[in-house]
């Protein structure tokens, strides 16, 4: 072998070796970092990359009446979605969809953006599509690449009953709700969520929990098949609600109320169960839970009869004479001569230079407490209230549940108003209000405001001699497998304490209102059935008087208490009492 000087300097060779070593060490370091240090992060990413979880919707809980008759269940509904990546280069798909659905291209694109959950996931564009449109879609499916449809359960209103304000409705969830429920919740854009009524109040129980199927997809989002080594998660259906509503009583109530604006609430005063809840005018649940056009919506909110307004719990009205038994009870408890005390009614009462009228212009003459309740004499109570005073009266009214929420299990309740000295001072100024205001208050006028719900509860408290049972719509919440998830047992609370004798006196006087010779509610009278009640005629600034009738029955078969309110209906005795009379007759007839 030839010995000789190398043709290249040794350092040049070393430098290239060093360069090779450094570059390869960089590579090894980078691969080590990726494949060992961050292995788990990328392993998860790889799984998420090719396995797509397909949600399987949980069916919403069914709503039954007290006897197990279905009021609301679910029916299939067609939903049209588009897959963003597939329509990206296919504007003709959207054009075709636009002509079939008769909705502008811009609107469709707006909905795609709104409901988009990624390039590969279907974005919902139309829900509750009629079947006719779906068959159109089928015919043109070759021109509709990237457009798919699916079947989803929607609310199906099985019953002929109205009950609309109590049941409420579901609507598609909006961004606000989604944010409020938080990221971890089960909700996704496009989901239905309880919007009003029981649907809203019991949303968590009715909703259920979606399940998932796992599908393997390739980079184009094409489904390859079910993933074998990952079990699907089955959806958990929502819990069913079993209401206290009695469909028969509800239907006769609705029939009796007919087209009048107002509310009738009938409850079982020994349990608090709501048996009938009518609030008229009702609402079209099917229309409200679908995609409502702005024309229909505007018509609804501009409707003079205010159909969206749930009179039963939201409506606040002057109570009229229905509150007289309260003052009477106070008198009985606190004044030793209460039963004997008489006042003479000449049709009106003078206080200073103001005159306060009784409903009977000719006057009731000399009346005692019993007669004053039976005949609803204002003058008697004008006199009485001046001995009671505002604070004491307000305290008692609060004990009966006025001025606070009844905690009924539907949302949106109003608590009404019980004026006291502090309130009057704030409203009119200290010393600026007079005894005149006081006189108005005792006959349920002036500043007093109550809801029909509160009045039905108050009637129940009167029937139960001071004990209140928490009013409620839902008796039981039951899972699909029969497990009882919640049982609303009667919940009693002592609201008002008074002596048995005095309660009996009030009952007797209220019996006389219906059954006495001069009673104001003779129209509510039933054969072989004792009805107790009190009429009310509330003057208001919106036109004719509101007609009230509250009452109860102590019959073991019919432990009912009720409140009837007819907006601008006229006199309580003339309009509200006959209405309940009709309902009670129908109930008695059904039972016999």
């Amino acid at each position: 072998m030839l010995q000789g000087k190398n043709i290249v300097d040794g350092w040049r060779s070393l430098l290239i070796h060093a360069l090779l070593g450094i570059l390869f060490l960089i590579l090894i370091g980078r691969y080590y970092y990726l494949m060992i240090v961050f292995h788990e992060k990328y392993a998860e990413k790889a799984t998420a990359n090719h396995i797509r979880a397909i949600p399987v919707l949980a069916s919403r809980g069914v709503i039954y009446d007290r006897d197990g008759t279905i009021l609301v269940d679910n029916a299939p509904s067609y939903t049209i979605s588009v897959i963003p990546i597939e329509i990206k280069d296919k504007p003709e798909s959207i054009e075709r969809l636009s002509t079939i659905m008769e909705v502008s291209i811009e609107e469709i694109n707006r909905r795609i953006v709104k409901n988009r959950r990624g390039s590969f996931a279907p974005a919902k564009v139309f829900s509750r599509v009629p079947f006719v449109k779906i068959s159109h879609l089928q015919e043109h499916r070759l021109e509709l690449i990237g457009v798919t449809y699916s079947i989803e359960p929607i609310r199906n209103y099985v019953t002929d009953l109205d009950l609309s304000h109590a049941l409420g409705y579901t609507r598609e969830i909006n961004r606000d709700h989604l944010e409020r429920f938080g990221k971890d919740s089960d909700y996704q854009p496009g989901d239905q969520v309880g919007w009003k009524g029981l649907e809203k109040y019991y949303e968590t129980q009715l909703h259920g929990k979606r399940g998932f199927r796992y599908i393997e997809v390739n980079a184009f989002g094409q489904e390859i098949g079910e993933v074998v080594d990952r079990d699907p998660i089955n959806p958990i259906p929502g819990y069913d609600l079993i209401l206290s509503i009695d469909s028969y009583i509800q239907s006769v109530t609705e029939k009796a109320l007919a087209d009048s604006s107002g509310s009738v609430i009938i409850l079982n005063h020994t349990t608090g169960e709501i048996l009938a809840y009518a609030s008229r005018p009702g609402i079209d649940l099917e229309m409200l839970s679908g995609r409502i056009s702005s024309k229909n919506w505007n018509a609804l909110i501009q409707d003079q009869k205010k159909p969206l307004f749930d009179r039963g719990v939201q409506g606040m009205y002057p109570a009229g004479s229905t509150l007289k038994p309260l003052a009477a009870l106070y008198s009985l408890e606190n004044f030793s001569n209460a039963r004997e005390r008489t006042y003479t009614c000449r049709g009106s009462y003078r206080l200073g230079n103001r005159s306060f009228g009784c409903w009977k212009k000719t006057g009731h003459g000399k009346v005692n407490l019993h007669e004053a309740i039976q005949q609803s004499c204002n003058v008697y109570f004008f006199n009485l209230i001046q001995d009671i005073g505002l604070e004491e009266w307000a305290h008692l009214a609060r004990e009966f549940g006025l001025g606070s929420l009844s905690n009924i299990d539907i949302p949106g309740e109003n608590k009404g108003l019980v004026p006291d000295t502090r309130y009057m001072n704030r409203k009119y100024g200290v010393k600026k209000w007079t005894r005149g205001n006081l006189l108005n208050i005792v006959v349920g006028q002036g500043d007093v405001l109550v809801t029909p719900m509160q009045m039905a509860q108050l009637a129940g408290v009167l029937a139960q001699k001071g004990v209140s049972y928490q009013p409620h719509f839902v008796n039981k919440i039951v899972a699909k497998n029969g497990d009882i998830k919640q049982l609303n047992l009667p919940e009693a609370e002592q609201y008002v304490t008074a002596s048995e004798d005095n309660w009996e006196f009030v009952h007797e006087a209220m019996w006389a209102v219906v059954n006495g010779p001069r009673g104001t509610a003779k129209a509510a009278r039933q054969r072989n059935w004792d009805i107790y009640g009190k009429t009310g005629t509330a003057q208001n600034s919106h036109g004719e008087d509101h007609a009230w009738f509250i009452g109860f029955s102590l019959d073991k078969r019919f432990p009912y208490a009720w409140a009837v309110l007819l907006e601008n209906g006229g006199g309580g005795g003339g309009k509200a009492a006959p209405l309940i009379g009709k309902i009670l007759r129908a109930i008695a007839k059904e039972t016999s």
């Binding site: 290249v8 060779s13 290239i16 090779l20 390869f24 980078r30 990359n49 390039s119 390739n218 390859i224």
Partner: protein, 410 residues
């Protein structure tokens, strides 16, 4: 001497280790392509074709090994000229397809730019072997630069930035190897680094500081220093202008280097998916044919530039390390051989082959894990592709040829 006797003697001199290394590398490439194929039921025939290319490549390895080096030396410029003509062909025959880097012979596409790597290398080796110079003036470097510049322009037209960079990489390493003084080498590569540094203000100023220090301590005439400095400043300054001259996809490829996850469906998409493939492979991989990233087509160019993702996902870090080690052994041996051979021509060819391999391996393995730009540089012996497989095999055969002492020649 009869041809038979020549071949027999030469065969005994064969460096088996080089052949074994490249065969092992080709086998791992075939394994990866096989894995892709067993998963995709509609076979594209990649495995069969690559097998044929590999076998053909081994044959060409021997051809390159047996060709007398004198013939290679004598025909170097002729072959170079033929290569240039071949490079012109795709441009002249330009059909409707946008990328004109292929010559179609029947159904087989040939990429002359790959073969040009060999021809350029041989021509440069001949030049530096025949003209032993100090390489201290621009005039001395004019010819090799021109020889490199012509094919570079031709592939840039195609446009193929990656291959153009390979050509220049060969030239730079050869100039360094041929004995240029460190200072002149620094001055030679400084303008390129100035342009790179100009992408960021701070790095540009630090680099310029370094250039000033080197120039200050050099014994160059004052005006030469000033001229050199000016060139660097001006080139750095017009980088933005040159940037605008790059095709958008080339810009995009360079940009996607910096943030591969930013736009998963754009230029960085492949790199992002590739990272997931490697990362999810973990230490030992998911097993042959079990990779989900590659088989579910998350990686579009999985059988060519991104072939290592299959090995990474299915054989894990261990598999990757094995491949890197094979490459290291191959290249380190080449550098040693380049240092120890006694012929200047052989030495330059050997170091040129080493530089081609270093460039391809580092850029390819770097780009698929996001530390180098996505430039379309395949991985030697492993990536699918006939022209490049043949080129790589010929280079290996050539290196075996140059590295052995020829008793047969006498």
């Amino acid at each position: 001497m009869t041809l038979g006797k020549y071949l027999r003697i030469r065969f005994r001199e064969l460096e088996w280790s080089t052949l074994i290394l490249v065969v092992l590398l080709s086998a791992s490439g075939l394994l990866a392509i096989y894995s892709i194929e067993i998963q995709h039921e509609t076979s594209a025939g990649y495995f069969m074709r690559q097998s044929i290319w590999s076998i053909f490549g081994v044959v060409l390895f021997f051809v390159a090994f047996f060709i007398p080096r004198k013939a290679i030396h004598n025909l170097a410029y002729v072959v170079y000229g033929l290569g240039i003509i071949l490079l012109f062909l795709p441009i002249l025959l330009k059909n409707d397809s946008a990328v004109s880097r292929w010559i179609m012979i029947g159904s087989i596409g040939i990429q002359p730019s790959e073969f040009m790597k060999i021809f350029l290398l041989i021509a440069l080796a001949k030049y530096f072997a025949d003209h032993k110079r100090k390489l201290a003036t621009i005039k001395e470097l004019m010819t090799p630069f021109a020889m490199t510049f012509v094919p570079t322009v031709l592939v840039l037209i195609q446009p193929d930035l990656g291959t153009a960079l390979v050509y220049f990489g060969i030239l730079i390493v050869i100039i360094f190897w041929a004995g240029i003084s460190p200072l002149y080498f620094f001055l030679l590569i400084a303008p390129a680094l100035s342009m790179l540094a100009a992408f960021q203000t701070l790095s540009f100023f630090i680099w310029m500081g370094l250039v000033i220090i080197v120039l200050y301590f050099s014994d160059l005439p004052f005006w030469t220093k000033v001229l050199n400095f000016s060139i660097n400043v001006v080139l750095g300054g017009i980088t933005n202008l040159l940037w605008a001259l790059l095709k958008p996809y080339q810009q995009q490829r360079i940009l996607s280097l910096f943030d591969s996850e930013a736009d998963p469906l754009g230029a960085g998409y492949q790199v992002s998916q590739s990272l997931t493939a490697f990362g999810s492979g973990g230490p030992f991989g998911k097993g042959l044919g079990e990779g989900t990233q590659t088989h579910l087509k998350f990686l579009p160019e999985q059988h060519t530039d991104f072939i290592m993702t299959v090995i990474g996902e299915e054989f894990g870090f261990v598999g990757v390390l094995l491949v890197i080690t094979l490459f290291y052994l191959l290249i380190a041996r080449l550098i040693n051989q380049a240092y120890s051979v006694k012929s200047r021509f052989d030495s330059v060819i050997l170091i040129g082959i080493a530089s081609i391999l270093i460039f391809h391996v580092f850029v390819n393995l770097g780009m698929i894990v996001g530390i180098m730009p996505v430039t379309g540089i395949p991985l030697p012996y492993i990536s699918y592709g006939g022209s490049f497989m043949i080129t790589s095999m010929v280079l290996a055969g050539l290196s075996a040829n140059m590295a052995t002492i020829r008793r047969a020649v006498g």
